[in-house]
C-alpha cells in the first residue's frame, strides 16, 4: 500500500494523534477543558484546534495548494501567537506531524518508491512550516501595529501636543 493510501486510510488516527500533540502543549487541567467542551463559543481554542487540524491534514494528503488552508493555519496560529508560547513552541505542532506520520505508517507494506514519497511528504510539511512562520510573524506584527495605532489614536496625545491638557507635573 502506498504511503498516500495509508495516509488516507489512517487519517482518523493520525489526525487524532496530531490533535493530542497540539493539545499537549497546554497544562493538563486546560487540556481536559479543551477536549471536553464541545460548544465553539464556550471553547473557541479547543474547537478551533478540532476543526482546523483536520482541514490542514486533508489539504496535505489531497495535495491541495496550501493557500486553501491558510485560514485554517491562521486560526490556530493567531491564538498561539498571543498565548504563553515562545515562537518555537507555538509552531512545534507542524514539525511533530512528521514523526506522527512516520510512526503511523506500516513500512513493511510500502514498496521501493517509498523513500521518494516520504521525501516529498517531508517537503510538503516543510512548506507548511514556512507558511506557518509567515503567519506567525504576521500576527506578531499585527499586535505591534495595534499597539502603535492605539497610542496614535488616543486623541489625548493630540491634545497634549496642542498643549490642551495638563498632566500632573513631575
Amino acid at each position: 500500500m502506498s504511503i498516500k493510501q495509508q495516509l488516507i486510510e489512517k487519517k482518523d488516527l493520525i489526525i487524532k494523534t496530531w490533535r493530542s500533540a497540539l493539545l499537549g502543549s497546554y497544562p493538563e487541567a486546560t487540556q481536559r477543558f479543551l477536549i471536553r467542551e464541545k460548544d465553539q463559543f464556550a471553547n473557541p481554542v479547543g474547537q478551533s484546534i478540532h476543526k482546523n487540524i483536520s482541514g490542514i491534514y486533508h489539504a496535505l494528503i489531497e495535495d491541495e495548494d496550501f493557500d486553501t488552508v491558510s485560514s485554517n493555519l491562521e486560526e490556530i496560529i493567531k491564538i498561539r501567537a498571543v498565548q504563553d508560547f515562545i515562537p518555537s513552541d507555538a509552531l512545534l505542532f507542524i514539525f511533530q506531524l512528521k514523526s506522527i506520520i512516520r510512526s503511523s505508517l506500516d513500512f513493511k507494506s510500502i514498496g521501493n518508491s517509498s523513500v521518494n514519497e516520504l521525501n516529498s511528504l517531508d517537503v510538503r510539511i516543510d512548506e507548511l512550516a514556512l507558511k506557518a512562520f509567515d503567519i506567525y510573524s504576521m500576527c506578531r506584527q499585527k499586535l505591534y501595529e495595534i499597539r502603535v495605532n492605539e497610542v496614535q489614536n488616543q486623541v489625548g496625545s493630540l491634545l497634549k501636543r496642542a498643549n490642551l491638557t495638563v498632566e500632573i507635573p513631575d
Binding site: 499537549g24 497544562p27 471553547n43 473557541p44 498571543v82 489625548g156 491634545l159 491638557t165 498632566e167
Partner: protein, 542 residues
C-alpha cells in the same frame, strides 16, 4: 529567549505535559505582554496612595515597605470584618469547578490560574492560613499557605488579569463573585504601593482636572465646538450645547473617552444631536467641563478612591443646582452608581426624583442616585413616539450588540439597548445566546486593563467575545459591533482588528443620531462618520 528545540522535542509524539503538580508549586513568572507598567510616583503621590515609588514589575526587588506583611495582614483583617461578602466568599467555596471554564482569560489563555476558582484560591489560601483552624493546623494539605514575596507577586500578576466582569459569578451555585475578590485583592496590593500606571494616571488626572485624560475645561469646550461644526456639515443645523449652566434641570455626564477618542466621538455627536432635537420639546440640559468624566478608575484601586472620584460629579450637580443627572453610555460608571454610589455618597437629597421632561416618565429605579442611563431615557422617548426616525439611514450597517459586563450583569440592563437598536436599524443580528445578555463575554480590557503594554493578555481575554462576533460576521455579514460602554469603544476596535477584521465599533447614540430626522435639516447624504448613506453615493454633498 528559550533554547532552540532539540530534535527529540520536535519528534515528540505523545507530548506529555509537565503535570500540574498542584498549582501552589507552579511559581509565577511575570511576562511581558501580560503585565502593566508600575505606577509612576507622581501619580500615586498626587492622590496620596501609599508608598509611591518608581518600580518595575520585572525587577526582583519590588521595594516593599519593611512591614509589608503586617500591612497586608491588617488590611485583610480589616476587610474581613468590614465586608460580609468577603468572609462568605472566602469560606463557602466548595471548589466544585462550575466557574472554572467561564472566564474569558482562562478560555483565551489556557492558563489554569486564570480559572476564577484558582484566581480566588491564590488569595483564599493565605486567608485560610490566617483565619481558619484547618489552615493553621494542616497548612498546605488544607490548601493553606503563608504569604511571602512570591505569593504577593503571584497575586499581583493574576489580580491584574481579571477584568472584574463577574461572568464567573453567574455560574457559581453560591453566587461567589470573584470580581469582588479581585477588587479587595487589588486594594491590598495598593496598600503596599503596587499600583499600575494605567490606573493611577487617570485617577490622579480625574482627581485634579475632573477627567481621566487631564483635559482642561477650555479643551473640552473646543472639542464640543468641533463636533458642532462636524454636525453642521452633515445636517446643516447648528447645535447649541449648554455648558456649565447653572439652574439647568438636568446635568449630563459622560465618560471623557466619548469626547476625546474615536469612535466614541461619534457617540458624543449623537448625544449633542439628540439634546438639540429635544430642546424644543422641553429638554433643559447642560454639559459640565468639571464633571467631565463619567468613568471611575478609582474603582479599580480601592473603594475609598472610587468614592472620592464619584463625589465629584455630585458636587458639580449641587453647584449647578440641577434636579437630576443623565449619564452617557458607560459601563463601570454604572456599576459604581448602581451598586455603590448610595453607600459612598448618598443620598443626594439636594436633587429630585428624575422625571423625563418630554414624556413625564418617572425613573423611580434611579431615585436613590438621581442618575438615569441615557439608553433608558432614549428607549422611553421611543416608546412614547417622541422621535422621528428613519431606520433606513443605517441600512449600510449590519449591526450586532455587545452587552457590556457592567450594564448587563451589574444592572440587568438587557432589553433597553435592544429596543433602541430595533428602532433605529433594520439589520440587527444577535450573537449566540451563551455570549450575550447575562452571559456576555467581557471585551477583555475592562477594569483599567486597557493599557498598551499588556496587548497579549487583552487579545487573549478578547477572544471569546471576538469569536462570537466572527460567527455573525461570517453568517450574516455583520460589519458593526455596537455597545454602550466607552471602554468597549476604545478597545473593541483593536480586538476586531486582530480577530475579525472588517467589523467596526460604535455606540448606540451614533446610530440613533444617524436615524434622527430633524425639522429643517438639509438632505442627509452622510452618516456621522462622514461616510455616504445608502443610495447617496452619487450625491454631491452640498
Amino acid at each position: 529567549m528559550a533554547d532552540t528545540p532539540k530534535p527529540e522535542k520536535t519528534a515528540r509524539i505523545n507530548h506529555i505535559p509537565p503535570l500540574m503538580k498542584g498549582w501552589m508549586d507552579t511559581p509565577v513568572e511575570i511576562k511581558p505582554g501580560i503585565y502593566c507598567y508600575g505606577a509612576k510616583p507622581k501619580n500615586t503621590k498626587a492622590v496620596g496612595m501609599p508608598y509611591p515609588k518608581e518600580w518595575n514589575p520585572t525587577d526582583d526587588d519590588w521595594q516593599l515597605p519593611e512591614n509589608w506583611k503586617d500591612i497586608i495582614d491588617e488590611g485583610l483583617r480589616d476587610r474581613r470584618d468590614k465586608y460580609r461578602s468577603m468572609k462568605l466568599f472566602m469560606d463557602i467555596c466548595v471548589r466544585c469547578g462550575a466557574c472554572a471554564d467561564k472566564c474569558h482569560f482562562f478560555i483565551g489563555s489556557g492558563d489554569p490560574k486564570n480559572m476564577p476558582v484558582l484566581r480566588a484560591e491564590l488569595f483564599r489560601s493565605v486567608y485560610r492560613k490566617k483565619f481558619t483552624l484547618g489552615g493553621k493546623i494542616f497548612g498546605k494539605f488544607a490548601g493553606a499557605r503563608d504569604l511571602d514575596e512570591d505569593v504577593l507577586k503571584e497575586w499581583w500578576y493574576y489580580l491584574y488579569q481579571c477584568t472584574e466582569c463577574r461572568r464567573c459569578s453567574i455560574f457559581c451555585p453560591y453566587g461567589i463573585d470573584t470580581a469582588e475578590v479581585t477588587i479587595l485583592g487589588r486594594e491590598l496590593t495598593n496598600l503596599v504601593g503596587l499600583n499600575i500606571d494605567w490606573i493611577a494616571g487617570p485617577v490622579a488626572n480625574c482627581n485634579r482636572t475632573g477627567n481621566h485624560l487631564g483635559i482642561q475645561p477650555h479643551a473640552y469646550i473646543d472639542m464640543l465646538d468641533f463636533f458642532v461644526d462636524e454636525i453642521e456639515d452633515i445636517t446643516g443645523l447648528r447645535m447649541e450645547p449648554d455648558i456649565n449652566r447653572k439652574g439647568a434641570e438636568i446635568l449630563f455626564v459622560t465618560p471623557s473617552g466619548d469626547v476625546f477618542a474615536d469612535p466614541g466621538t461619534f457617540t458624543a455627536m449623537g448625544y449633542l444631536m439628540l439634546f438639540h432635537y429635544l430642546k424644543s420639546l422641553g429638554l433643559d440640559i447642560t454639559w459640565s467641563t468639571y464633571a467631565s468624566e463619567g468613568g471611575n478608575f478609582g474603582f479599580f484601586t480601592s473603594h475609598e478612591m472610587a468614592k472620592r472620584l464619584n463625589a465629584k460629579m455630585y458636587s458639580e450637580a449641587e453647584r449647578l443646582g440641577v434636579k437630576w443627572i443623565l449619564g452617557g453610555e458607560c459601563g463601570h460608571m454604572w456599576r459604581v452608581i448602581n451598586q455603590y454610589m448610595d453607600t459612598f455618597n448618598g443620598p443626594p437629597d439636594f436633587m429630585e426624583e428624575p422625571v423625563s421632561p418630554i414624556t413625564g416618565t418617572k425613573f423611580k429605579n434611579a431615585n436613590a442616585t438621581k442618575l438615569v442611563h441615557i439608553v433608558e431615557f432614549t428607549a422611553d422617548l421611543m416608546k412614547h413616539n417622541k422621535l422621528k426616525l428613519d431606520k433606513s439611514r443605517n441600512d449600510h450597517l449590519k449591526v450586532t450588540f455587545h452587552d457590556s459586563c457592567n450594564t448587563a450583569r451589574a444592572m440587568g440592563f438587557l432589553e433597553e439597548p435592544r429596543y433602541v437598536l430595533n428602532n433605529v436599524c433594520n439589520n440587527f443580528y444577535e450573537m449566540p445566546p451563551n455570549t450575550i445578555r447575562e452571559q456576555t463575554f467581557c471585551c477583555g480590557s475592562g477594569s483599567g486593563l486597557n493599557a498598551g503594554e499588556n496587548m497579549e493578555v487583552r487579545m487573549r481575554g478578547g477572544l471569546p467575545r471576538a469569536n462570537a462576533v466572527k460567527y455573525v460576521h461570517e453568517k450574516f455579514g455583520v460589519n458593526m459591533l455596537s455597545c454602550i460602554c466607552a471602554i468597549d469603544r476604545a478597545v473593541l476596535p483593536n480586538s476586531m482588528d486582530y480577530w475579525v477584521p472588517g467589523v467596526d465599533v460604535c455606540g448606540l447614540h451614533e446610530l440613533v443620531a444617524n436615524a434622527l430626522v430633524f425639522e429643517g435639516e438639509k438632505k442627509r447624504t452622510l452618516d456621522l462618520r462622514a461616510e455616504y448613506l445608502p443610495g447617496m453615493e452619487d450625491e454631491e454633498d452640498v
